[in-house]
């Protein structure tokens, strides 16, 4: 009886909203039975997005977009609000997960050439989505409105300012005025919370619609290259013969993987916590060390390693060309082989991209191009003594900032050449000239170092890498 009541109630509702008519067919649509674990990344991206939407909405209940109150509200969320630190952590790691999953999903689709006929627009909408997701990641980094956030927005504005003709307008649009300040944060808030999420929702809608329209692709078959003339018909035929309903036959894998992803996000936020806040967002404070989040670090490294003449081209070119190449890829090649074994260039590109990303990211963390402001004085073990002129010279290396850029025996920055063995390579005169006049990427010190200081430094440097003179020099000369 009660069972009957439930059934009747459900039937009433179902009849009105059309769940069985509209939603069920989508859930049980046929998918190739050979897709298996390859296809879990798209749904994992979606799942990470759901984490972002949910945690983002919750955070917005306490987040105040404006001035130093932003910082205070972030502090409140992190330190005081119940579960606030977990929520902030989830939003942070969720962003990483979303970027990562989106990229892996794209690589998988690229390797299997799923973007070929008739799924060109699936890919194109995905590329747009990827760029909006990166935009979300970037604006999100600035909403962490601490010293790093403030300086990152300055750098972003400077980069936009390099655009020919409209550069300054663009930069001032980003800043919401001529300087970083209160109107900058509110601007980024609106982009991060309203504009970009709306784009992502719309993009996901389109992306899914296209998936339904063209069906999930099969695993590539070496003997069956894509031919737009016959593909659709053959696909339909095959899928009706061998396909399985998406739910539950294929979906359980997505569910397992997404559970894992959300578990990792939650785990990280519990055990690692959200990223620490830098000092407050005071644009006049110089104690910041602007560094982007890890997914942009490679780009930061590229910009630092480039010769200056190329820089503007790269700043403007990499995002633009990257987008254009990716976006139009399926129009350039939309038929032919899909199997990775027949497309060695595709594999090579992915491997190259991955290695480049890895190497540049490691460089980004090491920042060998930056002076190391935190270097310590050279210890006596490296200097060889703790008193006398040699020790004084070594001390001056620290005081005059030489060690910010030069490494001696493992102590110092890496902006300039290592000086551990310099005594073997340069003569006294060479050294004096270099220090006084500077040279390729080295400032001239002539006006800021006295003669006696210079002598001490040079004396010290000349001992580097040179064996201590034997006790009795005469005995070595015949």
């Amino acid at each position: 009886m009660s069972n009957n009541f439930v059934t009747r109630t459900w039937n009433w509702i179902d009849n009105r909203i059309g769940f069985s008519d509209y939603i069920v067919p989508l859930m049980v649509h046929l998918v190739p039975d050979n897709a298996r674990w390859w296809y879990i990344f798209g749904s994992a991206t979606l799942c990470a997005f759901i984490v972002q939407v949910f945690t983002g909405v919750c955070l917005a209940m306490s987040y105040v977009p404006g001035g130093e109150e932003t910082y205070q509200s972030l502090k409140y969320i992190t330190d005081t609000a119940p579960l606030g630190s977990i929520l902030r952590g989830m939003h942070y790691y969720g962003a990483s997960a979303m970027v990562m999953m989106a990229v892996i999903h794209m690589v998988q689709v690229y390797m299997h050439a799923t973007y070929k006929y008739p799924r060109e627009m699936n890919w194109m909408s995905g590329v747009v989505l990827l760029f909006v997701v990166l935009g979300m990641a970037f604006t999100g980094q600035l909403l962490r409105w601490d010293a790093n956030g403030v300086w990152s927005v300055t750098v972003a504005a400077e980069m936009a300012g390099r655009t020919p003709i409209i550069g300054p307008t663009l930069a001032h649009f980003i800043l919401g005025g001529e300087t970083v300040g209160g109107s900058t944060i509110t601007r980024f808030f609106a982009m991060h919370v309203f504009i970009m999420p709306a784009l992502i929702f719309a993009g996901i809608g389109l992306h899914m619609l296209l998936i339904m329209r063209h069906g999930i692709s099969e695993m590539p078959d070496v003997n069956d290259p894509v031919d737009p003339e016959t593909y659709k018909e053959a696909y339909e035929k095959r899928i009706h013969k061998t396909g399985v309903p998406f739910w539950p036959d294929a979906m359980w894998r997505d569910m397992i993987f997404s559970t894992l992803i959300v578990g990792v996000i939650l785990g990280c936020s519990i055990f690692l916590g959200p990223p620490a806040l830098d000092p407050p967002p005071n644009p006049s404070s110089i104690n910041a060390n602007p560094l982007p989040d890890w997914y942009f670090l490679w780009y930061f490294a590229v910009l630092s390693l480039l010769p200056p003449q190329l820089e503007t081209w790269v700043i403007l070119g990499v995002p633009t060309i990257g987008f254009i190449v990716l976006f139009f890829l399926p129009l350039i090649s939309n038929k032919g082989h899909r199997a990775p074994s027949k497309r060695p260039w595709a594999g090579g590109t992915v491997i190259f991209g991955f290695v480049a990303f890895l190497v540049l990211t490691i460089y980004g963390y090491k920042k060998p191009w930056s002076p190391d402001f935190g270097v310590k004085e050279l210890p006596a073990s490296v200097v060889g003594t703790d008193h006398g002129p040699l020790a004084e010279g070594a001390k001056l290396m620290h005081i005059k900032g030489c060690l910010y850029c030069h490494d001696i025996g493992g102590y110092g920055g890496h902006r300039g050449p290592e000086l551990t063995e310099i005594g073997k390579l340069l003569t006294r005169d060479d050294l004096i000239i270099r220090i006084n006049n500077g040279g390729h990427n080295m400032p001239a010190f002539a006006s800021s170092i006295s003669d006696s200081e210079l002598q001490l430094v040079v004396d010290f440097l000349l001992t580097r890498g040179v064996e201590k003179e034997p006790e009795n020099p005469k005995s070595t000369t015949p």
Binding site: V155, R162, P168, A171, G401, Y404
Partner: protein
Amino acid sequence: MSDQQPPTDQPCCQLKRRTFLTRVSVILGTIIGFMIAIPGVGYVLAPIFRKPKHKWRTVGKLDDFKVGGFVLVQYEDPSPVIWAGVTAKAGAWIRRVSETEFIAFSINCRHLGCPVRWVDDPKLFMCPCHGGVYYEDGTVAAGPPPEPLYKLNVRISEGLVEIETEPTPLTLTTLT
């Protein structure tokens, strides 16, 4: 459903009426769009075109500054919004060169805008981002910055040192 063509045997006026109504709705739709969009777009773009007046901001008493190296000063930026709080601050490196002479630089590196630091002993400005270095007169000593540090105007008025506010200096491109 909607792509059904009207029956061809309809009287002519019916067709004309449809064409007319189509046009009317397209035109009205456009008008609605503009009415909604113009205030909003104008509002969002306004900060680009509103050039705030440069203002003189006091950064300290004359006696606070000793002749010597650069010190960091803070002052309010030229056009703070009321909710800006500490983010309305701008910073500058200022140096008393002689009894009556001051020199001031914006803290923004001319490469990509990071905050440069004055290091007193070697008498250099150094940038933490990509290794830009400047001499004490603001000229580039090393690294990627294409231009010298941006100079700010300083004046002494009734025993107070004042700096003239400026927009964040952008390094504009020539694409060479």
